[in-house]
Symmetry: D2
Subunit: 372 residues, 4 copies
Amino acid sequence: MSYDCIVIGGGVNGGSIAYSLAKRGKKVLLLEKDRVVSKASKAAAGMLAAGGEFVEDGPLFQLARKSRAMFPEVAQELRELSGIDIELINKGMYKIAFSEDDEADLKRIIEFQKQEGEKVDWISAKQLRVQEPRLSSAITGAMYLPSDGHVSAPNLAFAFLKSAAKLGVDIKEFIEVYSVIMENGIATGVMTTEGAYFSNQVILAGGAWSSKVLADTNIRLDTYPVKGECFSVTSHQQLLTSTIFSHGCYLVPKSGGRIIVGATEKANTFSQSVSFNGISGLMEKAKRILPAIVEAEWEMAWAGIRPQTSDGLPYLGEHPKHKNLFVATGHYRNGILLAPITGELIADLIEERQMMLDIASFSIERHVKQPV
Amino acid sequence: MSYDCIVIGGGVNGGSIAYSLAKRGKKVLLLEKDRVVSKASKAAAGMLAAGGEFVEDGPLFQLARKSRAMFPEVAQELRELSGIDIELINKGMYKIAFSEDDEADLKRIIEFQKQEGEKVDWISAKQLRVQEPRLSSAITGAMYLPSDGHVSAPNLAFAFLKSAAKLGVDIKEFIEVYSVIMENGIATGVMTTEGAYFSNQVILAGGAWSSKVLADTNIRLDTYPVKGECFSVTSHQQLLTSTIFSHGCYLVPKSGGRIIVGATEKANTFSQSVSFNGISGLMEKAKRILPAIVEAEWEMAWAGIRPQTSDGLPYLGEHPKHKNLFVATGHYRNGILLAPITGELIADLIEERQMMLDIASFSIERHVKQPV
Amino acid sequence: MSYDCIVIGGGVNGGSIAYSLAKRGKKVLLLEKDRVVSKASKAAAGMLAAGGEFVEDGPLFQLARKSRAMFPEVAQELRELSGIDIELINKGMYKIAFSEDDEADLKRIIEFQKQEGEKVDWISAKQLRVQEPRLSSAITGAMYLPSDGHVSAPNLAFAFLKSAAKLGVDIKEFIEVYSVIMENGIATGVMTTEGAYFSNQVILAGGAWSSKVLADTNIRLDTYPVKGECFSVTSHQQLLTSTIFSHGCYLVPKSGGRIIVGATEKANTFSQSVSFNGISGLMEKAKRILPAIVEAEWEMAWAGIRPQTSDGLPYLGEHPKHKNLFVATGHYRNGILLAPITGELIADLIEERQMMLDIASFSIERHVKQPV
Amino acid sequence: MSYDCIVIGGGVNGGSIAYSLAKRGKKVLLLEKDRVVSKASKAAAGMLAAGGEFVEDGPLFQLARKSRAMFPEVAQELRELSGIDIELINKGMYKIAFSEDDEADLKRIIEFQKQEGEKVDWISAKQLRVQEPRLSSAITGAMYLPSDGHVSAPNLAFAFLKSAAKLGVDIKEFIEVYSVIMENGIATGVMTTEGAYFSNQVILAGGAWSSKVLADTNIRLDTYPVKGECFSVTSHQQLLTSTIFSHGCYLVPKSGGRIIVGATEKANTFSQSVSFNGISGLMEKAKRILPAIVEAEWEMAWAGIRPQTSDGLPYLGEHPKHKNLFVATGHYRNGILLAPITGELIADLIEERQMMLDIASFSIERHVKQPV
């Protein structure tokens, strides 16, 4: 059987791409080397921090804002097709300050974001405690981002995949892609642990594992894995209603009184183990922000591996040397936020449609290296 | 601290009662002897089979229809308060026939239900396979119940409880009620593993464990536990879109390509173990209905303990001898379906409001026995 | 069917009693309200700290030493009958000092224990680090207890139960005992969620849940539950070889590079939830003792509910008012250590044999209260 | 850091090889792409069926017998070093007959095995039911293999690995080997997801994933994956004491009343999912052999991926073209049984010692293919 498109990777971006392609009538095969939604998409806290993550303007900030705006419609579509609620919450986010230096930093960011038309403002410690009375009294104020929110990351990934399946996408798990099959420099399929599959286009969306697939193409993506550790607590009482963001620690209140606390950053490892040290450090930070968290019930700890790039920008585009080979990876901490627009952009590229924004900054060739 | 009401039981009906009372401004304490949503409410397949479960008219059929009609509004309310989607699906249900005898039975039920104003009709095997092409060709037709549907049972239970908590209900887990405290024949609180709690009213919603709490009150509820075993499979392909109901076996398609197959019935045991025999028998029945299920992926098996009564009707009402002691149990296979109306009826009783339907048939005194 | 003996409780002591009785030819029924080995016996770290736990002489110290001496033979017997290895390790234990005050305290204990014939000695910080080079350099020395060790607590409990089953004991799970049936003040059986069972003797070994069973007997045991929280880490490297004991924190190295860290103490709750605070506090203490633990991998956290008494001594004996009703509970932190001797003592009592030590100090009547 | 040897694969054979090398003083690094003991070694039922698996003489039969003989000593060594009991049971095995044809087949095997000095005999149905009274009365007799037994497969794998770690082996998880580094045709290290590691020898023991590592070496191993599905049940009663073997189904009684039933065979897939069909078929076969199994409690189902070769013989030896590259894979259903001898043989090869048996039949070159 031949396919229009083969998508490599069963995470949130592979799922979004397969879904966008299927909506446009493509016959798609999605291949995942393990189980779908078993890596970074399962581990993410699901923040939609288009405002919260960026301290200066640039193409990624604009990409993030555009993707964030797509969520309400995506949530409805996916709920109808798959029955899965992505748990979209748009109650805003606070980046908190503990000192005058923090305040000065945040106020600079507020200025830049306001110029870009982002709804964002400074609020006093007093106003903050009206909203979130359990927060530490040591907090001196916060940047308030009313447009940011969060979703359930695993639900979003499953909803894309199951909606894609409903539209006819073939999903095959436990199939690892060794290499992309090339004919005259054009991608025509993939070689896998279960033999060859052929298609008109190949899209690589394997997260931190993407560069490995390209090892044989004489091209190396400049990405590296960054482990992030998280833990969660639960409470029948409402300890928090909005996402709180601080240096090296965020608290995301999920449905049913659950709070996810994340995330450490450890570069250059694919290990999904959780360290004593990682958890211990996060717990200290969380207590400093929300002292009442000590009353909550411990739930569990986990880790995910996110793909980072040397300039912090994702790769979105066609391979510079191999026609019909597309790459979508390097989303780092923004994989959930960027998933909706990633699917649409890749589908636009494949259909050679007008793009909704310029993606030259995310091109593959910007870092292409010869293999060692 | 004193409460208006104490609810005993952290399942779907305890949660619904606590939620209804909290909406009316009551200060409520909910006590659960284990974890909330750990017994029958966690195990249920979540069918809303007001039409599907009843073969003749009676008060329970009317109660079930009224409760079913409440779900769309309940789903929205709970989603807003708790962030939890109860996964309400209203795609209808089919009760299938394998023989002329089955057909005759189903057609008699159709007649009775039509008279009651239920939308229900016979459809041919050919029509059925248009809707559900994977069903067995041995099926000769089906009763179609377009108004029946299903929800996620654990989600519904959690959504009631977490919404109740948001409205101020205190939820305490791992506290077992030994007995109801009586003063002059009036319930004034409960004696528990962690001491006494006092309130104006006590509501017993402990499912199959309810009768034990009343052991000291010289009253014995005529209920008994019935174990139901289930299993689930998953598939990226859509094997089924509607609930299918047959003799001793139902298949409920849940979000994300999951199918729950249930349920055995074993009376007079509280054991939550799953037997080889139970699973083996259900698998045979499921294969007969949906041969394609053999391609699906095995997920897991589990069991729940449901409270049954000798006449098959639940207990809903005030205790005949002990004022301010209310009972809501005996829902058997309809605990999920009846949860919304159970909460409202108990709240109406406590507030001495006009009831939305006559509940005399569900009275506690109909079976009261002296203790052995 | 009638039994010689009914044992209430499927934990380590219920298992040991059933096993001892079965070895003596008794026909035994063991009843457990949940699953066997699901409470304190599953949660325990398994220390055999006959020397480590006691700071002064007394009947419990002698009981503990006698029970500890039984382990090598018990381990072999249970391995043969059940195939389960209890993972008995006899590498000794260290009670560590961080200050001169600590040292003085420990040296007093050493004196008393030496008088009792216990092999125990003070070792310097330097000697300690030869044995355990990863321990903190802030440790100033330790009391060394070469005779103490540890076992796998769940393995020991399962091994007793499965060996008992092999010798003919009937084990029934998910059956809760409401009350003991008395005829003319003599125990003749139990009333349960699944009806009555009859026997010549009834033995109550229900851990923290024991007092509830006696509520109807006009007798109340003076026990209360104490929650203990633990966590575990794993490492491919050997971070520790001996058990380390300090104020409010112990580290027990288990098979395969696992270390269990315990345990908090929270009285008067049956809640098996783990608190953020409990874990956070234990982690700080563990880091202070073994700084290298920060490199280990986080595994999980859990809690168990142990039965404590007001004078810290267990209850072992026949009920003062009800003949043929025997009680074995209140073992608090020594439930694993005392299990072998508990089984033998109860069996001796039932057979009216000569006891291997005087158990008057553990008698039931010492605290008997009239019910409230 | 440089190593003497790098072992690729954290399963039972990788663990055994690392352990044997460490015992001989080698500095070893073991790399595992996922978690150790997460694939076939975790899934296996642990039969030691040197007699039971072979119907004709050959080098594999002799290899299996020699390895089987090593278990008692291995069990003791590993228990001492790692604290892990491998649960070695030597109660024999029965290959059962349901017909005269079965009997004739088994009696032919008995003849051949007796000639080889194997203790093996025919026993009548009547004798069999004395030993195993719960077996089906349709069984007409059995081949009795008193020397065969079983171990806990995951325990054996963990015990090898943890004992190896204790002897100084570095174990690193979540590191995938891309390729073997060659200098002038000699293996000098491996290229991995976390960079290069160097050593004097490289040993490939990656089970079904081994051939992938060699993709770049212009050599392809003639192996293919075969999925095996299993399930387990538990019982407090002893339903079975010996391993029972029949066409396409075996029942292995494990410690504590657990029975593992296995195994299906599905070639050419790496999928670890369990199919409805696989489980359903095994349940039917198990019921036919041991009707009483229907009373047991369902525990769980799982699958493992075993490496098979076209002639059914494993690969054990040095790579024909690349010096210092050793291969140990293709053990198929005998991976647990052959682990002890595999470790010793590979260590002998590396040390250029006299081998304890001729391994020419297992040479790598017998099937070497040029890459496609």
